[in-house]
Symmetry: C2
Subunit: 154 residues, 2 copies
DNA sequence: TATTGTTATACTCTATAACTATA
DNA sequence: TATAGTTATAGAGTATAACAATA
């Protein structure tokens, strides 16, 4: 009985629109903070991920983060130039590399993590812990359902 | 009494990380769908926003969407080339322009909106309506708190 | 002089695919 | 030939700032 088809849903009807909007702002804000330390968001993700393990191959890292090998290669270039990361060619199979965070990188990481904490708090600090957890779970579940690469479910 | 400082929070500790991860996937998936119609995500946003009003100045649109005038200018170029949008210079003040969606653009919009609906459903359809609304409200609240440009709270 | 819109420039991120070197 | 990593190319998105036209 609708007189108008209402075929054209508004932008704000889509959850994807809101996520993109907020996410862009959060990431942009974070990127400004990181810029003071001379690092980009993608670089932070790589460094943080490498920090866990002693060393990791570029291809493994690429899969884990959900990036292409080419992208990792370029990021590694930049991080190497900043002396935050080293490449070491394997002796056994010289096609393999081991990426590792340098001492300088390890010294820098806590500061970057503090910026990440600070940025997250600025945007989501007003939410209750339960609410944050709820949203996080929802996002995590979406990642799982869609079989997205990096399922870093902690 | 902590033995370890635990100073370095993991990536997954941050809600911003999850939002960025999911949002990137959702947007990418949407961009693939839109590509079949020869449109990008940013172009969809512009078209959808212009669709509401008869016409709008680039600067007003820029503020509403949260983009720079330069970005709008480039988008308008592309949309004009695709005959989805027109620029009309004001007679009163020749610095002003009116951007408007063409008939072709109006014909295309329902199809794009359907893709948006479809994409949103693919990622968020498994959530209850209440849960979706909850997350949407949270995002909306964040936008409001941070006084972000486009507050299309509808 | 202030404002509107355009243009030039640049950089990040991403993806594809051709390429090199190893095996 | 198969794999690991690199490089070239491209395009979207974004931002800054210089610029032209107009008021």
């Amino acid at each position: 009985m609708k007189t108008k088809p209402a075929a054209i849903s508004p932008l704000e009807a889509h959850l994807g629109y809101w996520l993109r909007f907020v996410s862009n702002q959060v990431s942009h804000s974070f990127s400004l903070k990181l810029a003071e330390r001379g690092v980009t968001v993608a670089e932070w993700v790589v460094l943080r991920e490498l920090f866990e393990c002693a060393a990791m191959a570029p291809s493994a890292l690429a899969e884990r983060i959900g990036m292409t090998r080419g992208a990792i290669s370029k990021l590694a270039d930049r991080l190497e130039a900043k002396a935050l990361l080293t490449r070491t060619i394997s002796d056994e199979d010289r096609r393999y590399q081991a990426l590792a965070v340098t001492a300088k990188g390890r010294a820098l990481l806590p500061k970057l993590a503090a910026l990440a904490d600070q940025n997250d708090a600025a945007f989501f600090g007003h939410l209750s812990a339960a609410e944050r957890e709820r949203i996080k779970s929802a996002m995590c579940e979406i990642v799982r359902r869609h079989g997205l690469k990096a399922v870093p479910v902690d």
